[in-house]
Symmetry: C2
Subunit: 389 residues, 2 copies
């Protein structure tokens, strides 16, 4: 896998140059996410090439910055929206209603009606009550049923919150037809940050069985939505996006040779590597002269953009100007007065021994699932700023 690592490194290198030039020449008065739109574009092209005939629906929730949406609209991306707010955003940036799917299985009736009025025709569901809401407020709409995947090896798995089991899915397709909806397909999600394409195999196998059963039950399904899961580089080796997407599609085509339409919903895999957060060390300390580890407090934490460090699940790569100096282990924490605002403690991070208050700290590959998680003002700290270049 040396070549893969090499590729990842190359990708990282090409990503940092434009970003790093901008960052090096800029002052920031608070933690700021800088997103390189050209990097987003390169990632889109790589994924689109690898995905072949599958249509990309970018998962807007990963990063809804207007400039990101603009760039993806210009490239021909479609969009997976989680809410009325995200649909309104995509429409306002020029996406067509037919290019937007309402992919959250949990929707307010008024939001379904609002979306339907604006021409959105494709909705996700995983429950009877959701189908009833859609039938009432978007009569005749196309729906796809979301299946639970219980075989995920993802770094940020999706548990049982979304989806239903196979027998329920078949019941829901029947029920949708009874409600005069158009049950067009099935979706699933292999789990966010699924690092290797081969991890998709068991989930696709399970899905193929349900697909066949639905066909046998008389549902002429036309859309297979393979969801997201496309990974970003957080220190552990991943495959390059084009090769990863191609490998996934080969597995899909082998199991679903005749599906008319395939949708894919990359979010993290589209934007994470295009972003770097510029942060600052606020304090370096020891609690006791007997302590083995320093504590390093940044001006950003779990409640101002780094929510995915919960349980130390996502381990971001850190860089400082002192990384050529001797390094030592640190517990890393955010700036708020909340003791839960600790980023990495069980597995301390290595940072320069000479690190001190005021030093800039770059947090790499943070273009996804950071800015919108940021609190409105926990402890009086302003939200993460976002600059697109």
């Amino acid at each position: 896998m040396t070549m893969t690592m090499h590729n990842a490194q190359l990708r990282a290198d090409s990503a940092v140059s434009r970003l790093d030039t901008f960052i090096a020449l800029s002052d920031f008065d608070r933690p700021t996410l800088v997103v390189d739109l050209d990097r987003v574009e390169r990632q889109f092209r790589a994924l689109a090439t690898g995905l072949g005939r599958a249509q990309i629906h970018y998962a807007v929730k990963a990063n809804p910055a207007e400039e990101v949406i603009d760039r993806l609209v210009s490239l021909g991306s479609h969009f997976d929206a989680a809410s009325r707010g995200e649909i309104a955003l995509c429409l306002s940036r020029g996406a067509k209603p037919r290019e937007i799917s309402f992919g959250n299985t949990i929707k307010k009736p008024s939001d379904i009606a609002w979306a339907w009025d604006r021409g959105i025709t494709l909705f996700a569901a995983d429950a009877e009550e959701e189908l009833e809401k859609i039938a009432e407020h978007a009569p005749g709409a196309r729906v796809y049923i979301r299946l639970i995947v219980e075989v995920s090896e993802a770094d940020w798995p999706l548990t049982r919150k979304f989806g239903c089991d196979a027998s329920k899915a078949l019941e829901l397709m029947d029920y949708a037809r009874d409600l005069a909806l158009d049950p067009v397909g099935i979706s699933f999600h292999v789990g966010s940050q699924t690092r290797r394409a081969e991890m998709w195999g068991p989930a696709l196998d399970a899905l193929a069985e349900t697909w066949a059963a639905a066909q046998a039950a008389g549902h002429g399904l036309s859309i297979l939505n393979i969801g997201g899961g496309f990974p970003a580089f957080y220190g552990e080796e991943i495959e390059a996006p084009e090769a990863y997407a191609r490998a996934v599609m080969e597995m899909v085509e082998a199991r679903f040779p005749n599906v008319p339409h395939i949708m894919a919903e990359p979010g993290r895999g589209m934007v994470a590597e295009a972003g770097t957060i510029v942060a600052e060390a606020m304090l370096v300390s020891r609690k006791s002269d007997r302590d083995l580890h320093r504590w390093v407090y940044l001006d950003i934490g779990r409640f101002s953009g780094l929510a995915e460090t919960e349980g130390e699940a996502i381990r971001y790569q850190l860089e400082t100007a002192r990384d050529h100096e001797p390094m030592g282990p640190c517990i890393l924490a955010g700036p708020s007065c909340d003791s839960a605002d600790v980023l990495y403690e069980k597995r301390p991070v290595m940072l320069p021994v000479g690190l001190k208050s005021g030093d800039r700290v770059l947090i790499r590959n943070t273009g996804a699932y950071t800015s919108t998680y940021s609190s409105v003002g926990f402890n009086g700290f302003p939200p993460l700023d976002v600059v697109c270049i």
Copy 2:
């Protein structure tokens, strides 16, 4: 403890009447926290009576709504601020600089300088580097040293993120004096939501030893900051605020008979019970016909205000209009497409069997640590709205 429960119930009853009238007569287009300012005032008066000579510094981070600050300013409260933003807020609402302490042990140098320029003279610290920053940007300022408390029984304990051990604290007092700062006292925090006053005993014992050692080392300490920890009612029995505060102060006075000034920093204990969140059920479903539990999805979740449900730590009380109907267990989740956005799963909650999409759900005693945790727009959902009455 029957009387205590009775008191808690009485307090709840008096709290809900004004709130509930307002809520019953209002429509809300999104999740909304309604805060009863008169309830805040009653709580302030009860705590102030129980705390006697101790000066209340309200922990602004618990709820920084302008109307809350206004009411507390009018009542003579002082303020514990976590950031420049919170100091600016308090000053803008009429608090005097001498009434505001900068209680976060993690401060930016520029924020220290800004606060000092505006007349803030009392700062917290638990590390050498923090003292150096204060000495440089607020020369001669009063500082108190925060101690670690490792004997907490709180529901939301503060771990080791803040504070230093006893020997480090003595070193820091010496160092503060060397830096021409004025080391005036010691602070600690027994842990948020410390339900019974007796739980303070071991922490106060440990603190008294350090206090005596500091006196013996020639530090004429004048301020004892007992921090927060004052609880709110979340279903488990707590003592009424006045009795609780009086019991804590009796324990303090027994151990620190001659301390000139005592500060207390209630946050949760001041505002939690004054607030109710008005939410809505968005979906009720089962994943499988074999599932024992329903899933109930609300229009509010961990990333839109209910962050303290992390690890199911804080268990909010829920109410619906169907609570007289048969009840059954539910897994409770938020509306976002994030699988981590599950509120209660290990210990399901009881909700009406007939609950359905569109039903209003009241979440009680949510006046603290909700609105500011809310994300700016995760998944395109707007932040928690706040209305003060």
